[in-house]
Structure formats: structure tokens, C-alpha cells
């Protein structure tokens, strides 16, 4: 949504939602069960997306996906919700699994590093243009940089292309590209916004030589 207009000023005092406890837990449940992905979030129709809270988007995503792949069924979701609604003292059942817990600790406490770059198409200092595209729902190339020309600032590593169309799991170099704000938005000096730089990470197939 970079560059979209009409969302008003930033509510800088809004730090915590007041019910972060269950919201954080709901995110974890969604992530761990495989019910959550940014791709899944982006499958939410735009009108619904814009009208829901952050936590609600995670829930919608997880409920839809997990009912779709049979990990839960909607009847049991409704049954549990009714039980919790009618009995304030009731909490979800508890189970333990030592092996699963050990794996969880390992994955939460390990920093995920990118892979080493092999045979990059571009180098630091190269001028690159972001390809024009109309991708399937999820990719990581924001609309506001498409078509713009920037300069490769750094090559942090390689990573699997996150696009939904990348079913093969193809790994590509990722480039940090520096754009000048005038190439994205024009000269905004007169409206109190002197030129600045925008740096963003882009996968190799989003770019072409400029």
C-alpha cells in the first residue's frame, strides 16, 4: 500500500491494542498451524482487508486455510466458540509434546540467514529498472517501484522467490536498490517534502538492466 492516499495521519500514540495477549497468541496459533502466510493474508478480498483489524486479518486467513486443508472443520470451530461464549471459565484444552517443544525452541531462537549469492546478474552500483508486471496475488514487488530506475546498493544474499507462482522454490539473489524520491513521486519540495532516498529489497527476476 506504499503511496496510497486517504488513510489520514498516523496515530502515534497507538502502541498496544489493549488486548495484545490473545492477539499475539492468535498470531502464533495461526503461524504454527500453517494457517498463516502473507500470501494467505493477501487472498482476503481488498474491501474486507481494508475493513478488518490486523488480528482479524490473521484470523480470517487461518480459519479459511485450515478449514480448506482439513486441519479443522467449521462445525467444530462454531461448537468451541459457543462453549467459550456460554462459559467464561472455560479455556482451550492443554496438550504437551516434548519433541515438538524442542523443535519450536530451536526455530524461534535461531536467526534465519540468507543463502550465499551465486552468479548474480547485477553488482553494487548497477542501474536497474523494476519490471512492469501484473503478478498473481502475492509477490514482494510493491507497485510503487514498478517501472522506476534505481541503483544497486548492496547484495544481501539469496532467498527463495516468495511469489505464489514460484512453485519450484527457485532461489534468486536479492538486491537492495536505492531509488530517488523524485523518480517515484516527482518533485514534492513545494509541498514540504524535499527529496529523499527509498531503499528496498528486490528479487532478481523483478529487475532488468537500465
Amino acid at each position: 500500500m506504499g503511496g496510497m492516499a486517504g488513510f489520514g495521519s498516523v496515530d502515534v500514540a497507538a502502541v498496544e491494542s489493549g488486548h495484545d495477549g490473545w492477539e499475539a497468541r492468535a498470531q502464533v496459533v495461526a503461524l504454527v498451524s500453517g494457517g498463516m502466510s502473507r500470501f494467505g493474508i493477501e487472498q482476503i478480498p481488498p474491501d474486507k482487508y481494508l475493513n478488518s483489524t490486523y488480528a482479524e486479518r490473521w484470523l480470517i486467513c487461518a480459519e479459511t486455510k485450515l478449514a480448506g486443508n482439513g486441519k479443522v472443520d467449521t462445525a467444530s470451530l462454531a461448537r468451541w466458540k459457543e462453549l467459550f461464549e456460554s462459559n467464561q471459565d472455560l479455556l482451550p484444552p492443554r496438550t504437551e509434546d516434548a519433541e515438538g517443544l524442542a523443535k519450536m525452541k530451536e526455530s524461534v531462537l535461531t536467526t534465519p540467514l540468507m543463502q550465499q549469492v551465486h552468479d548474480p546478474q547485477f553488482e553494487v552500483g548497477d542501474r536497474v529498472r523494476v519490471r512492469r508486471m501484473r503478478p498473481e496475488p502475492h509477490n514482494r514487488c510493491p507497485r510503487f517501484v514498478r517501472g522506476a530506475i534505481g541503483e544497486v546498493e548492496r547484495v544481501p544474499g539469496s532467498d527463495p522467490l516468495p511469489d505464489v507462482s514460484n512453485r519450484s522454490g527457485r532461489v534468486e539473489p536479492v538486491y537492495t536498490v536505492r531509488f530517488e524520491s523524485v523518480d517515484l513521486w516527482g518533485d514534492q519540495t513545494d509541498s514540504g517534502e524535499p527529496p529523499f532516498d527509498l531503499l528496498i529489497d528486490l528479487w532478481q527476476s523483478y529487475l532488468e538492466a537500465a
Binding site: V29, A30, T95, V108, W203
Partner: protein
């Protein structure tokens, strides 16, 4: 806190309202509880792993770690250089790391200011800063930080001189950006702990500056 530190206290389910408090649960919270219950019932997830992960997000990770990193960098120039060259290795020296923690540190100076946004969702360096504040996930911040950053900064009370070079980092890949704030004047004699106490979350996202109390 080290990476192998364990919380033994039972945080299980304290995330949901406790039976004693009788706050009416929202429809969303009820749905979240139902989802957890159904998944546990079906054996898809187990409660102990959910407890551990949620506790890490809320307590093990957090801006107190980020502040320690900044204070160390301000007082140890060799550490600062390592931090800027290879952020992951440097923060690991302080026992910090984990999920969403593939970090690149960018340095504010009197002539350069950095700020971080995720226009696509809410990417954020969890081990160093914990969960993102609500405003970071808001449509207003995500849409405007890349288009009119000085106007956004003014809403945070940060007025940058036109001559300052402003760099906005959009976290679109797995790299998580972390701002090393500029050390304010008048802090020369302070200890690392005293310095760490001055540094708040916004300064490490780039929507705030560090100042003396």
C-alpha cells in the same frame, strides 16, 4: 538474558482473560480461542509449543535488547563497526537472535537519518524490538512513510532539517532493518546501562530521536 534462558513460570493461557476478571470476551477473541481449541483437539498443535512461542514474542524479545545493542555500539567503537558490517554476528555476541532477526543495522548521524517501514505488511526485527506497535501496522504509516516521510516524522514530533539526507528502508525481503540512533550530546560520561535507559523503540525504527530526559 541469553538465548538458552528458559522461562519456567506457567504463562499458559494467561493470554486469554482470566476467569476471575469477567471481562466480556470479544467475538474475535472467542474465535481465536475456538481456533486454538479445535487445533489442539485435532492434534495439529500442542499447547506447550504455543506457550513458548507466545512468551518469546512478548517477553524474551523486545526493545530492551535493541537498547542494549545501541548502548554497546555507542561505547565500543569496535563493536559498532562489527554491528554495521555484520549485524547478526554482532547481536549474537550479546546473546540476541531468533525468528525474524536477520538484521541489517543502519546508522543515523548528524547528516543522515534512517527510518524503517514495511509497506507490504508488518516485517519487524522481533528479537531486537519485540512485537511492532499498532501504528507500525497501520494503513496510514505503511502508505505514507515511503511517500511523505518528513510529514510522517513531524507527526512523531521529529523535525528534520531540509539538509539532512533522509533514507527510508522498506522491509520487503527477509532482511530486517534496525536503526542505530545518533548519540546525543551531553551523554559522554554515562554508563552503558544509563545510555540504554535513554533509548526507546521509536528511535530504533527511526521515528524518534534520542534525547536527554
Amino acid at each position: 538474558m541469553t538465548a538458552d534462558h528458559d522461562h519456567d513460570d506457567d504463562h499458559g493461557h494467561s493470554h486469554y482473560d482470566t476467569p476471575g476478571s469477567r471481562r466480556a470476551r470479544s467475538q474475535l477473541e472467542l474465535r481465536a480461542m475456538a481456533l486454538e481449541a479445535a487445533l489442539v483437539e485435532n492434534g495439529v498443535i500442542h499447547t506447550d509449543a504455543i506457550d513458548f512461542f507466545t512468551d518469546a514474542m512478548e517477553h524474551r524479545f523486545g526493545p530492551h535488547h535493541g537498547a542494549r545493542v545501541v548502548a554497546r555500539a555507542w561505547t565500543d567503537s569496535a563493536f559498532k563497526q562489527r554491528l554495521l558490517d555484520d549485524g547478526n554476528a554482532a547481536v549474537a555476541e550479546l546473546g540476541i537472535g531468533g525468528l525474524e532477526g536477520n538484521v541489517r543495522v543502519v546508522e543515523n548521524t548528524p547528516g543522515t537519518h534512517n527510518m524503517v517501514v514495511c509497506t507490504l505488511c508488518s516485517c519487524y526485527p522481533w528479537p531486537l524490538l519485540g512485537l511492532p506497535p499498532l501504528w507500525y501496522k497501520s494503513f496510514a504509516y505503511r502508505s505514507r512513510a515511503v511517500a511523505e516521510p518528513r510529514a510522517v516524522l513531524r507527526e512523531f514530533g521529529v523535525e528534520l532539517d531540509d539538509s539532512v539526507r533522509l533514507q527510508v528502508w522498506d522491509s520487503s525481503s527477509e532482511v530486517r532493518y534496525f536503526v542505530l540512533p545518533d548519540r546525543p550530546e551531553g551523554t559522554e560520561g554515562m554508563s552503558e546501562d544509563e545510555l540504554a535507559a535513554l533509548i526507546d523503540r521509536n528511535a530504533m525504527i527511526g521515528t524518534g530521536l534520542v534525547s536527554l530526559p
